[in-house]
């Protein structure tokens, strides 16, 4: 139990950005090991810059260190240069707090925010000195746990993790600590006993406690559409639950964490204070896994938000705070909170010789904003100085497609927001869109370009510098969403759509197009909806050197394709195949509380272009979460926020209409469109009707 710092220190002059590995952040605890404490090593399987700001990890770090029977430290994926140095020197993964070997801990717990980090998880377990496969671990090895959004389908990692936690971790980490504590006190007898006890903790899923059966090939050796499908997922023991439910904290006000936010010594991706204003979202966007798995909405009390902002800024010395949530303009008390935060800052600031408070300029960040004029007004209130860029996510280019995905932004809201932003001095706007959404036609795709063009037209009335950046990403269907049955677009189809947009925006002055690598979306699709058999592919990609797959310079889809080939599995079957209602999905035994019937009905409603409203302010449609878990929305305001239209019970039949004139579009030459459309139009309407089962084979 000693620090490895003397061995690590000589390696750091040899690596890029060595400050990532020293710890020493403001706000860290004083982790003391020993006294029978259960030692947690909280891991983020990506670089320090990406992982340090992660609020989930910071919250659990603090909660565990407050317990007398636990101690927690942090670790992040060492970049490839340090990994090579560590392996060369025979050194293991280490904590950044006290630079202890990972092997000195009892639990290695990963936060999985995304799927492409799965190979990094394997790499870090290996670097920690534990066998990568859970079945090979002994009583002396680490207990490997995963949590976070991507752990809602942990099946691709089933062979590598000992347990996955579904949902929010605040309470369950204590219960896991209790179980492990008892097991250690009892003399660390066999691992199966420990795993079986963990499986009894609500929210904890132990893959080894479940048997997955697959359809066998037909007797005559022929295949049909069912071959390779899962036929059953069953617990191995009677005391293991058939279904694992997610954990949900009923009242966010009981958990004012992090109380001591970490401020790093080196630059990270979100270099500011973050205060979470609410959890959950019931806007009901059908592509959005976060909105589906974090229900219901639980707002933090407004005065607690104010206190946390004031304390956090005073402790860290930051002058910028993000009020985080899935849709911050929906926070009931957003306007008074913003005013209150600014008042508190003025009150706390030193008074200058002129009697005025000094140095109280505070930037309030409102991420994930709704698209409407009210929101722009808010952004104006908090952003008096810098009005360079504003970001919105309409997600789809036409009202029709937005009804399919239930992102019910009417055209009036959209152009109203744009008008409002440019008139208040913003000059640049960033718009996020998804391509490859269910039922998408080329008209929908090109609608993105048209929408951007109109935004620039509106902007030009206010400033010659008006520009719009359109950022498109390929849609990856996620588990526990209404789109979980949808066959993801192929890499080629994504590229064709990107080409359509490139061609359409090429001559649009002021419109810049950016796109996410479609190949990465394909790999993400593998990990998102894969089953246990995909674990072999992930292990092979890792063994072939495929770490840091979220980083373009390290990602190569051919590595994934080769691994599928070598393992005798079909990438097409896992990623591009439409699922049917009777298919046993790999995560069928795991639930975020959403009724399977609700999800399927919502999928059918999507195909029928029918929207659902936000149940915060309109009657409950029984998705299953509140009723099933006996919890409910914690929302201060009984009425929808001003300005927003999305899902608030208003008349949406005229959603595509405009009350303010927008310049008539210039006709796009038809020849241009034809020249880039390489595939027949029939392919673009792949899913205009209910999905039909496609055949595929898995051997």
């Amino acid at each position: 139990m000693t620090s490895l710092w003397p061995q690590i220190e000589p390696l750091l002059p040899r690596v890029q950005k060595p400050a990532r590995y020293i710890g020493c952040e403001d706000g860290i605890g004083d982790p003391r090991h020993g006294d029978g404490k259960v030692a947690w090593l909280l891991a983020y399987p990506d670089t320090y810059e990406v992982g340090l700001p992660n609020q989930g990890l910071q919250i659990l770090y603090e909660i565990l260190n407050e317990r007398p029977d636990a101690v927690a430290e942090r670790t992040y994926a060492p970049w490839t240069d340090l990994e090579a140095e560590l392996r060369g020197a025979g050194l293991p993964l280490f904590s950044v707090d006290t630079h202890r070997s990972a092997a000195d801990f009892d639990i290695l717990a990963f936060n999985l925010s995304a799927e492409l980090v799965f190979t990094n998880v394997l790499n870090m377990v290996d670097l920690a000195g534990s066998p990568v496969r859970a079945a090979d671990r002994t009583v002396d090895d680490l207990l490997v746990i995963v949590g976070g959004h991507a752990a809602f389908n942990p099946e691709p990692l089933a062979d590598f993790v000992d347990a996955a936690v579904l949902g929010e971790g605040e309470e369950v980490v204590g219960e896991i600590t209790d179980v492990v504590h008892r097991w250690i006190a009892g003399g660390r007898r066999d691992r199966t006993t420990l795993l079986r006890e963990l499986a009894q903790v609500p929210g904890v899923y132990v893959p080894a406690m479940y048997e997955v059966s697959y359809a066998e090939p037909l007797g005559d050796g022929s295949v049909d559409g069912r071959q390779g499908h899962i036929t059953a997922i069953e617990p191995r023991y009677r005391d293991v639950p058939a279904t694992v439910d997610k954990r949900t904290v009923a009242d966010l006000g009981d958990w004012p964490y992090p109380k001591s936010p970490l401020a790093p010594l080196t630059e990270v991706v979100h270099d500011r204070l973050s205060v979470e204003v609410f959890r959950g979202c019931t806007r009901g966007c059908r592509f959005c896994q976060a909105g589906m798995i974090t229900r219901p909405v639980r707002e933090r009390p407004a005065d607690q938000v104010r206190t946390m902002v004031a304390d956090g800024l005073a402790r860290t010395g930051y002058d910028e705070v993000s009020l985080t949530s899935l849709s911050t303009a929906d926070f009931s008390d957003i306007e008074p909170v913003i005013r209150g935060v600014l008042d508190d800052r003025r009150a706390a600031a030193p008074v200058g010789p002129d009697g005025e408070p000094m140095g109280c300029d505070t930037t309030i960040n409102l991420p994930s904003l709704r698209v409407d004029a009210f929101t722009v007004g808010l952004a104006g209130e908090v952003n008096s100085g810098r009005r360079s860029g504003l970001t919105f996510a309409p997600e789809a280019g036409t009202w029709r497609l937005r009804t399919v995905i239930n992102k019910l932004i009417v055209e009036d809201d959209l152009y109203g927001a744009v008008e409002s932003a440019f008139s208040q001095g913003w000059t640049r706007m960033k718009l996020y869109f998804l391509i490859g959404l269910p039922t998408e036609t080329d008209d929908d795709t090109l609608g993105i370009a048209e929408l951007a063009r109109r935004c620039v037209e509106i902007g030009r009335r206010h400033t010659d510098r008006a520009s719009v950046t359109v950022s498109v990403g390929g849609f990856v269907p996620k588990p526990h969403t209404p789109f979980q049955w949808f066959g993801q677009n192929t890499d080629a189809e994504f590229r064709r759509k990107v080409d359509l947009l490139r061609e359409a925006t090429r001559r649009m002055h002021g419109v810049n197009l950016k796109w996410h690598d479609p190949a990465a979306s394909t790999a993400e699709g593998v990990a998102s909806r894969g089953d246990r058999r995909v674990g072999r592919v992930i292990e092979r990609v890792w063994r072939e050197g495929g770490t840091f797959q979220e980083w373009g310079e390290h990602f190569d889809l051919r590595r994934w394709e080769a691994a599928f080939e070598a393992e005798g599995l079909s990438l097409e079957w896992y990623v591009h195949r439409h699922r049917t209602v009777d298919e046993v999905l790999p995560w069928a035994h795991l639930t975020a509380g959403l009724h399977p019937d609700f999800l399927w009905d919502d999928w059918q409603a999507a195909l029928a272009e029918s929207g659902v409203e936000d149940c915060r302010w309109t009657p409950c449609y029984d998705c299953g979460v509140c009723t099933g878990y006996g919890i409910e929305h914690v929302v201060a305001s009984p009425v929808p926020p001003a300005g927003g239209s999305q899902g608030t019970g208003q008349d949406l039949t005229r959603g595509a209409e405009l009350s303010v004139p927008v310049p008539v579009p210039e006709p796009v030459p038809v020849s241009v469109l034809k020249s880039v459309g390489r595939r027949p139009a029939a392919d673009d309407t792949l899913l205009a009707a209910a999905p039909a089962p496609t055949s595929g084979s898995v051997t």
Partner: protein
């Protein structure tokens, strides 16, 4: 009121870059609530002046920062709590050694500092090998070193940049005073010239002094009080 602070950077924080150091200072000054003046303009920044960059990985007991306070505001420099609170707001390993008022006419650190003193230690820097190497360098008229600047390799005579070079009798460290004007000589480059068999990445570097020479008189930017000096020497031994 304008301040000049001498501070240390020792231990793990030696891996924090000069650029990150600037962000650290801004946060620390906000935490202690110093009335720091800000630049005018669209995005006001605190008025801070940083001295010569310390290479990432090097330690120092002679780092400097200039801080401009809002016109008309004052700090009680004699109150030890003022310096202590600032040290407390800085990361472990960074401590305020001297806090002084700076005359308005004082030039910037970047412009005024003419030379800096370094201590080099590390495995392979054996005194019996270094002593002859040091004598050779001191006796030579020129010392050609090939080095890279802004992506271009070039050979420079660095002998005029070496003002002093000797072994510290008690610690066996190489002590070098290097001129900072013009294309300065980095301590790692000096180590390479003295001991070609040693990987410069294995050399531990400590900056101990920054000097201002004016009209033939050399003085330290802010000398350490004796008590602090003794403590720091103890730490570095």
């Amino acid at each position: 009121m304008k301040l000049r602070v001498r501070y240390s950077k020792r231990g793990k924080v030696r891996f924090v870059s000069h650029r990150d150091g600037a962000r650290l200072w801004e946060r620390a000054l906000r935490r202690v609530g110093f009335p720091v003046a800000t630049t005018n303009g669209f995005t006001p920044r605190p008025k801070l002046g940083f001295g010569l960059a310390l290479p990432t990985g090097a330690e120092s007991v002679a780092e400097y920062i200039d801080i401009d306070l809002v016109a008309g505001s004052t700090l009680d420099m004699a109150d030890p709590d003022v310096a202590r609170s600032l040290s407390d707001a800085l990361p472990m390993g960074m401590d305020v050694l001297v806090l002084a008022e700076r005359e308005s006419v004082t030039g910037s650190l970047q412009d005024d500092v003419t030379s800096t003193t370094w201590e080099l230690t590390g495995p392979g820097l054996a005194p019996e090998l270094l002593e002859p190497a040091i004598q050779r360098v001191l006796a030579a008229d020129e010392l050609l070193v090939e080095r890279e600047r802004k992506g271009q390799r070039r050979t420079d005579d660095v002998r005029p940049l070496i003002r002093d070079l000797h072994l510290d009798a008690s610690t066996d460290a190489v002590v070098a005073e290097l001129v900072t004007v013009g294309r300065a000589l980095r301590p790692s480059e000096l180590a390479g010239a003295l001991a070609p068999h040693v990987d410069p990445l294995d050399v531990r570097v400590l900056r101990t002094h920054q000097w201002i020479e004016h009209d033939g008189r050399r003085r330290e930017v802010l000398p350490l009080p004796d008590a602090v000096d003794a403590l720091e020497r103890g730490l570095s031994a």
